[in-house]
Symmetry: C2
Subunit: 219 residues, 2 copies
């Protein structure tokens, strides 16, 4: 492990997640060792980049042999703290919150949605999947029992900071914010933002600006 985990560049961490997916697939296929070149091909990342990303965490490969798939998978899973269950609470039972509460991608993952909260009295008490929508104002107390350690914010922009404050008060250690606004959390709580409009805006920039296959071939 590096001395200061916060020194590992975020893009490297994001790629570790891709490597994990690749390694899980290799295990399924019964592959026992893999070279960085082969893994790179599968992930769409260069072999050099893979070796660099892994070097933050120690020595993994053996020259001429490659990586032991099972071993690398186990170590990366441990490094990313995915060898334990994470309990997710969602604030905002609108369309997006509901979709996330029922997200099939979480099945067989270390993430389990344990609670969903809203401030709308017409929603509180209603069932959503196998959960009951709870009153967001009671989040800090109710989370003592729910033991959520990750919060997701799916409320409108103007309610996002209040949602974040309640999640922090409830003791979550990480927040994934889907509201299109900047929120603040204490320095020991990790925060990531997923902003759909931003993703779309970046896509738009490229529309009709990328070379066609013919132009690309012509160099």
């Amino acid at each position: 492990m590096p001395e200061s985990p916060s020194k590992v560049p975020e893009p490297s961490l994001s790629r570790l997640s891709v490597y994990l997916r690749c390694l899980r697939q290799l295990v399924k296929e019964g592959v026992r060792t893999v070279s960085s070149a082969k893994m790179g091909e599968r992930c769409g990342v260069s072999a050099v980049q893979i070796r660099k990303d892994l070097s933050y965490f120690g020595e993994f490969g053996r020259p001429g042999v490659g990586y032991d798939v099972q071993h690398l998978l186990a170590r990366l899973t441990e490094i990313m703290q995915l060898d334990r269950q994470h309990r997710v609470v969602i604030v905002g039972a609108g369309n997006l919150g509901s979709a996330l509460a029922g997200y099939s991608g979480f099945v067989l993952s270390p993430f389990q949605v344990v609670g969903i909260f809203d401030n709308n009295f017409s929603k509180i008490g209603r069932r959503l999947w196998d959960l009951e929508i709870l009153d967001v104002h009671h989040l800090p107390e109710l989370n003592r029992e729910l033991r959520g350690n990750i919060g997701m914010i799916t409320v409108p922009a103007d309610a996002a900071q209040e949602a974040a404050d309640l999640l922090v008060k409830a003791g979550v250690r990480a927040v994934l914010n889907f509201a299109p606004t900047i929120i603040e959390v204490p320095p020991d709580v990790s925060l990531r933002n997923v902003d759909l409009t931003r993703e779309l805006e970046v896509l738009c920039y490229y529309i009709d600006r990328l070379p066609s296959p013919e132009e690309k071939a012509a160099g």
Copy 2:
């Protein structure tokens, strides 16, 4: 404009989207000029970074005066190609696709969802918001009328490449992929991936590894 728009780093483009949001807010507040320092404070980005990001596209500010808010907003909107309507088609009418089809963040945005497709006969023909769920196998023909130029993929991983192929055949110029897998599109179609599990995995890495406010103060 830079000679080769694909040479602008993606993180810069992603920040342009943040600056746009900030500038729209400043216009609402009646602010007419803003310094890079002031804008940086609002966006959580350094003034140096803002000046660097904008420098890819020309000269905007006046020393000692700052940026003309209206002018910079208009120019960035044009550069990002957000001065026109973009028509979005969604493949996958599950929870996430339905949530995106009804996403309130698109109201007042240049993005309009014009069609949603699925391959499940029990869903095809049903209404979703003000749309009818259409048969994905007819996407290329139906898009002649819908004129979608952006596709969103919200199908399971194993159906994602087929969805991408149909979107490309239908003529979309950009694809936002929510399926947790790597998909391929021709080089002149822009592609971005939003992967919720990946975002969560990166968050997990930081859990209990960030310094508390006290540790941070102690240096």
